[in-house]
């Protein structure tokens, strides 16, 4: 059946076609859609879970694969960093059931974070990595990844970039294969499944290298990479890795009016990004006079090509990033194909052929993202701000470390509170460093609930052990919100249908031996500010749990915190409410501020910002 699906969903359907027994992962843009689409299918024979973090997700998946069943583990590039400790060990041990690790990279960093090129991780782990150029190829390569994993008996990477992960295209989907009900293999073999001692570890390393070599042979035989040599030898050869290959045809079309002849060009579309396709690369080198390499981010394929060229005594020219033609930053597209062709063939293609008027961009209004209307974090930020003022300090005197997720929006106006963002859970540990460095003013760390469970909890344990003076504000909105509302261990399972156990942060904190602990409602800004102020004056580790459900998710369930309306006669349009809250439900009317009843959640946070009693809560 032909279906219109995303690259993420193509992996999901490919895994189902491979009879996957378990799928685990942690949400992270742009990888999230894969696992969430499987969760939505309510599968009976395949276990699907959002795990507490990527490392745990990979370990769960590994247990399934070591028992002889197929498993898929999904994450974004930052998550791979978290899972990597485990991954190296698993790569050393290999696996029996197919184990596929899906990682999504984000050239151009459209989701924030970084332009990490995870292909280098495949190199470091000696693991094969497959990377499709289109959504349709994603489906095919996913099925192949499971086969490859079982043939080499080792885990296999599948890498997508945002442009494929989030793109919709038509894919021919087959029926899912029945999930194997075979009894789990229970293999007791400490030579494979433990790492104790140099003999075990070096033997595993040897096997790992062999597996990678074997993967190269299998992918060569299966002709996964697409090599097409021109009829006449000599001329230009283009290597395009992953998504870059999807732009070739269009680039050729654009260059054609300038005398570019597609027939004279050889191409190698690379879908096995590791191991380096040496045999095919050598054919290209033997056939072509000049080599052009198109790959986003790091010059990985390009370096491989230089090595083969050296081994062959190649005399031609290699063009890519290392000779300064292309940038290591941002996404590739048709312009790079054309630019590459021009830099090699000098056809006189004008530079502005594919560049538009970017002057217009300078006129656009800045649109810093802020929290949604009714977001509970708004109350918490305003409260932190108030607490700082109560201590007669200024914002630029109080270090507030931030963390990943919606909570980071405290870095933007109107709050301008957060100073830092590193990685999941880093806020609370980083804050300790500032204290050790001798910061005299109170140090605050902020973190979301999912982030707390993911990695923040370890940082908190460290702070307690070493008796650091800091205030941790856990902004518990009950969901993993920024990636599009996934459940985490703290998400209330009150819908009866859920099959998980909720873990209450309010019970974890006292159990860690923290004396100064408060749970507050961030919609009650005064109380929250009072508590944070008090916390900042006390010694040791203090934890404030600001708990209120994400407004978007609450509204989806038909909830409404209240109703706030404007008393027009009282409003003198001083805009103080807007200035303090930055709430998007506000707009300027002719005579008074206006509240969009569709957007307003009735959180009430704005009410006391008004000194003229123009904002009032209605009884609901």
């Amino acid at each position: 059946m032909k279906k219109l699906i995303t690259g993420n969903e193509a992996i999901a359907y490919g895994a189902l076609r491979a009879g996957v027994k378990a799928v685990t992962g942690y949400p992270g843009t742009p990888s999230t859609g894969c696992l969430s689409s499987l969760l939505a299918m309510d599968l009976v024979d395949t276990h699907v879970e959002w795990s507490v973090n990527e490392k745990v997700a990979l370990e769960v998946a590994t247990g399934v694969a070591w028992s002889g069943h197929r498993a898929l583990c999904t994450m974004k590039m930052s998550g791979l960093n978290v899972a990597y400790d485990t991954l190296i060990s698993v790569a050393y041990s290999g696996c029996d059931g197919g184990l596929v690790v899906y990682v999504a990279d984000d050239p151009g960093a459209s989701a924030g974070m970084c332009e990490q090129d995870s292909r280098s991780f495949a190199v470091m782990a000696d693991m094969p990595m497959l990377e499709p150029a289109t959504v349709a190829e994603t489906y095919e390569l996913t099925k192949f990844a499971f086969e490859l994993s079982e043939r080499i008996k080792g885990p296999v990477f599948l890498r997508l970039v945002t442009g494929i992960a989030d793109s919709y295209a038509e894919v021919e989907i087959e029926e899912p294969v029945l999930v194997s009900q075979a009894a789990p293999l229970l293999i007791k073999d400490i030579q494979r499944y433990t790492k104790a001692g140099a003999v075990i570890a070096t033997n595993q390393h040897r096997d790992l290298i062999q597996r990678l070599e074997q993967a190269g042979q299998i992918t060569d035989e299966a002709k996964i990479n697409k090599l097409s040599l021109s009829r006449k030898p000599g001329g230009l050869g283009i290597l395009a890795s992953g998504i870059a290959a999807a732009y070739l045809e269009e680039g050729f079309e654009a260059a054609a009016p300038f005398g570019f002849n597609r027939e004279d060009v050889s191409t190698l579309e690379i879908k096995v990004v590791h191991p380096f396709p040496a045999a095919e690369a050598r054919k290209m080198l033997a056939h072509c006079q000049t080599i052009l390499i198109l790959e986003e981010l790091e010059p990985l394929i390009e370096r491989g090509m230089y090595v083969e060229a050296q081994r062959m005594g190649y005399r031609g020219k290699i063009t890519g990033k290392l000779d300064g033609v292309f940038s290591r930053i941002g996404e590739y597209g048709v312009p790079q194909v054309v630019q590459g062709i021009e830099s090699v063939l000098r056809l006189g293609i004008p530079e502005n052929l594919l560049s538009g008027n970017t002057q217009a961009l300078k006129l656009a209004a800045a649109r810093p993202i802020t929290v949604c209307a009714g977001c509970p974090h708004r109350g918490t930020y305003i409260a932190i701000d108030k607490a700082i003022k109560k201590l007669r300090l200024k914002k630029n005197e109080v270090m507030v470390t931030g963390d990943i997720g919606c909570t980071i929006l405290g870095m933007n106006p109107p709050f301008d509170l957060i100073w830092t963002e590193i990685s999941m859970g880093a806020s609370v540990s980083l804050a300790q460093g500032y204290v050790h460095a001798g910061v005299k003013t109170p140090v605050i760390a902020t973190i979301g609930d999912s982030t707390f469970f993911h990695a923040g909890i370890a940082g908190l344990v460290n702070a307690i052990q070493h008796q650091i003076d800091l205030t941790l504000v856990i902004m518990d909105n009950r969901w993993t919100a920024m990636t599009g509302m996934q459940v985490n261990p703290g998400t209330p399972c009150n819908n009866g249908a859920s099959t998980y156990q909720e873990i209450d942060i309010a019970r974890i904190i006292p159990a860690l031996g923290i004396e100064h602990f408060w749970t507050v409602d961030p919609f009650d800004v005064e109380e929250t500010a009072g508590v944070i102020h008090q916390a900042m004056t006390l010694p040791g580790v203090k934890v404030v749990l600001a708990r209120q459900e994400c407004a978007i998710q609450a509204q989806r369930q038909g909830k409404q915190a209240g109703k706030v309306h404007v008393v027009e006669e009282n409003c003198n349009l001083c805009k103080l409410c807007l200035m303090v809250t930055g709430c998007s439900a506000f707009s300027l009317g002719a005579n008074a501020i206006e509240i969009d009843p569709e957007l307003c959640y009735g959180c009430g946070v704005c009410i006391e910002t008004c000194h003229h009693d123009a904002l009032v809560a209605e009884e609901v």
Binding site: G163, Y168, A246, E249, V334, P368, T370, C372
Partner: protein, 199 residues
């Protein structure tokens, strides 16, 4: 047929839905398509863009600059982000809704005027199809969904209307949104400039 559309707006306007509907029409009519929405984060009110590429079998998701046959923009300032992508001679459809960022509402930051946008569209050599939010019709006392109205205008007034059939667009709207089917039809047809056929 090869036809590329670049979308720009802010989260919450339903602009991505226009792209989804058109992608589904393509799927329904066996036209090769790649639809790449970029919504950024969960929050409402942030910049969103999308790219729909029709008619190519193997195609990358990104439209090159000067490559879009049509731009559909639903927020005045964000429309500027689409300017580099419009092809000279292309259709630049602007629904000139204004979502002022807080700094603009507070009078602390400038916001581009309609005249500035017009000038940029002209400099890019494109044809401006302007839809004033004030012309949005009401159905049963409520303003219709702007996105479906805009979709109607596009089908009625741009080259896309000659490449795919309006019936197919309407068919997808009807199958996709099970609720408010009459209001949706009304919104779409008002945009198209067709009178509502009361069934």
């Amino acid at each position: 047929m090869k036809y590329d559309i670049f979308f720009a707006g802010v989260g919450g306007q339903g602009i991505l839905t226009i792209g989804e509907v058109l992608a589904e029409v393509a799927h329904y009519k066996d036209i090769p398509a790649n639809f790449y929405p970029s919504k950024g984060m969960a929050q409402r009110g942030g910049f969103v863009k999308a790219q729909l590429r029709l008619g190519r079998e193997n195609v990358g998701p990104n439209i090159p600059q000067r490559g879009a046959d049509m731009v559909i923009a639903m927020e005045q300032s964000e429309s500027l982000k689409a300017i580099p992508f419009i092809k000279p001679g292309g259709d630049f459809v602007l629904y000139s809704d204004i979502w002022a960022p807080t700094a603009v509402a507070l009078g602390k930051a400038p916001y581009p005027t309609f005249a500035q946008i017009t000038e940029q569209v002209k400099l890019a050599g494109a044809r401006l199809v302007h839809i004033d939010p004030g012309q949005l019709p009401e159905y049963a006392g409520e303003l219709v969904h702007a996105n479906l109205y805009v979709l109607g205008v596009i089908m009625g007034q741009t080259a896309l209307g000659t490449l795919i059939r309006s019936e197919d667009v309407e068919h997808i709207i009807q199958t996709r949104f099970k609720r408010n089917t009459e209001a949706n039809s009304f919104a779409y047809r008002s945009g198209l400039g067709m009178p509502l056929v009361v069934s």
